[in-house]
Amino acid sequence: MKNTPVRIGYLLALAALLAAPALIYPVLIMKVLCFALFACAYNLLLGYTGLLSFGHAAFFGAAAFVAGHAIKVWALPPLLGLAAGTLAAAALGWAVGALAIRRQGIYFAMITLALAQLLYFICLRAPFTGGENGLQGVPRGTLFGLDLADDHTLYYPFVAVFVCAFWLIRRTIHSPFGQTLRAIRENEARALSLGYDVDRYKLLAFVLSAGLAGLAGALKTLLFGFATLTDVHWHTSGEVVLMTLLGGMGTVFGPVAGASVIVLLQTELADKAGSLVTVVMGLIFIFCVLAFRRGIVGEAVALYRRMTGVKTR
């Protein structure tokens, strides 16, 4: 696995990330990172375990509310707030996953969607979420004496958290556990016949994915200072599917690319096209599924391999 070009690529990306606030509005970059992490977490499940969840907004949103509540009401420091959100999402993931993995394919997706809708309803009615108004005015707090209210000060700890989470996802993909997940994705019956307790692996993958999606949601609350019903809405679940597919599911970096494109497009088009954004997203989705199914990174890798004649690993 001594893959020098990949390593150089990561170093360049990291350098670009560290230098970026000089050129680009840091809040926009952090927003991209939030959704990139969300999509990467989702990809762990869709791309590497072969499970299509249609309710991942539940984990993203639940963590957004829990982190917001922990920081605003319990006055926890920001890092503990993030941890609380992540743990809550992982616990929720355990409950949802344990139910959903009993079924396969479309039924799995439907169960995740149904449970996510249930959570949406709870968030709509529960007092601590603020209902239609959402949870507003969550302070960013301080970290090691630094006031995070300044966007540039928030930026570097934010990037550090993202890099750690991304590293964890990448490591999971390239771990003995990741190998097992891939085997299950490729041929579940065969994995079972080789003595693998398939459901337990799926459940752990689900919990990891939910927890990391939760971390993304908690980061979002910290960044914008609010959590709203949009975070738990099924639109958000659909968006993360789109990001993952567009970037390239089953590739390590694909979801980051997909999330970047979607978030930047949404931001760019928001003033110009208004509600037409949804139409543009729909068209992108159709184009992506019809023309380049492997996604941006998937197609790029395939092209690179064709040009260099390297066999697929």
Partner: protein
């Protein structure tokens, strides 16, 4: 009586025994009261015309299906209600009718998947996959055994059919099963491949028991010690090839009339 003997801890000559095994699908009885006894160390074939219930029987034995009635004993232990992954860990490993490889993993990784469970790190998501390299030597040795060592780096899906079947056998062997269940190992193969797989099965059966579903009579007559013929879900005949192929009922089940020899049965 035999069951009581094995309960007492005396080794039974049979590694696998079923009694009154039955499977009903919504009123259709696919397997009907099968008493199968597989002798330890033998190559045992399960044959029969299409729809005789062979694959259902296999699925029952490996717990991919739950029997409606009857019991299954493996090594004297009742496994009728065990989960499929438990069966595999007890030493009863199956292959599938449709080639069962992990298509987008490399040949080496395919075999390694079977080996790595023993490392006890399959839940370790924080560990590098480089830790699996320790298994490569053993995986390569297994691949060499089936003649695939030089293809170790290839992605499984890109290999021809015969080699996929060989890879499947190597993967199954990686678990070092006491009893190997092969579902039509030579199905859809050309002559050379059939010969290769036959040799391979003979080789791997040297220190284990093999139970296989097979249509190819050349394979059955060539390497199998015992044969059970199923027809319409029930056992029609049992014995060695000479006895079974001379059995009137068997010839009739295959040919639709008595008189023709079984050797001419469809491959």
């Amino acid at each position: 009586m035999a069951q009581r003997a094995s309960d007492a801890g005396q080794p039974s000559p049979y590694i696998l025994e079923t009694s009154g095994l039955m499977k009903e699908f919504r009123g259709f009885v696919a397997v009907d009261g099968v008493d199968l006894k597989v002798r330890r160390g033998s190559i045992h074939a399960l044959i029969g015309p299409n729809g005789a219930g062979k694959t259902t029987c296999f699925n029952l034995l490996t717990k991919f299906l739950q029997p409606t009635r009857g019991s299954i004993r493996f090594n004297g232990r009742d496994i009728t209600r065990e989960a499929p992954q438990r069966i595999a860990r007890l030493g009863l490993v199956r292959s599938f009718q449709i080639s069962a490889v992990f298509p987008h993993l490399t040949v080496l990784e395919n075999v390694r998947i079977a080996l790595q469970r023993a490392l006890g790190t399959t839940f370790h998501f924080w560990k590098s996959e480089r830790s699996l390299a320790a298994l490569d030597e053993r995986a390569l040795a297994l691949l060499a055994e089936v003649g695939l060592a030089e293809h170790a780096g290839m992605v499984a899906v890109e290999m021809p059919y015969g080699r996929k079947r060989a890879l499947e056998i190597a993967t199954t062997l990686a678990l070092d099963p006491e009893l190997m269940l092969l579902d039509e190992p030579t199905q859809g193969m050309g002559h050379e491949d059939v010969d290769r797989v036959m040799q391979l099965i003979r080789k791997v059966a040297a220190d284990r028991t093999v139970l296989m579903v097979e249509h190819n009579m050349k394979v059955v007559s060539g390497i199998c010690d015992a044969i059970t013929v199923l027809a319409r879900g029930a056992v029609l005949a049992e014995g060695d090839y000479a006895a079974v192929s001379a059995n009137e009922a068997v010839i009739e089940a295959y040919m639709g009339s008595s008189g023709a020899a079984l050797a001419g049965a469809p491959a």
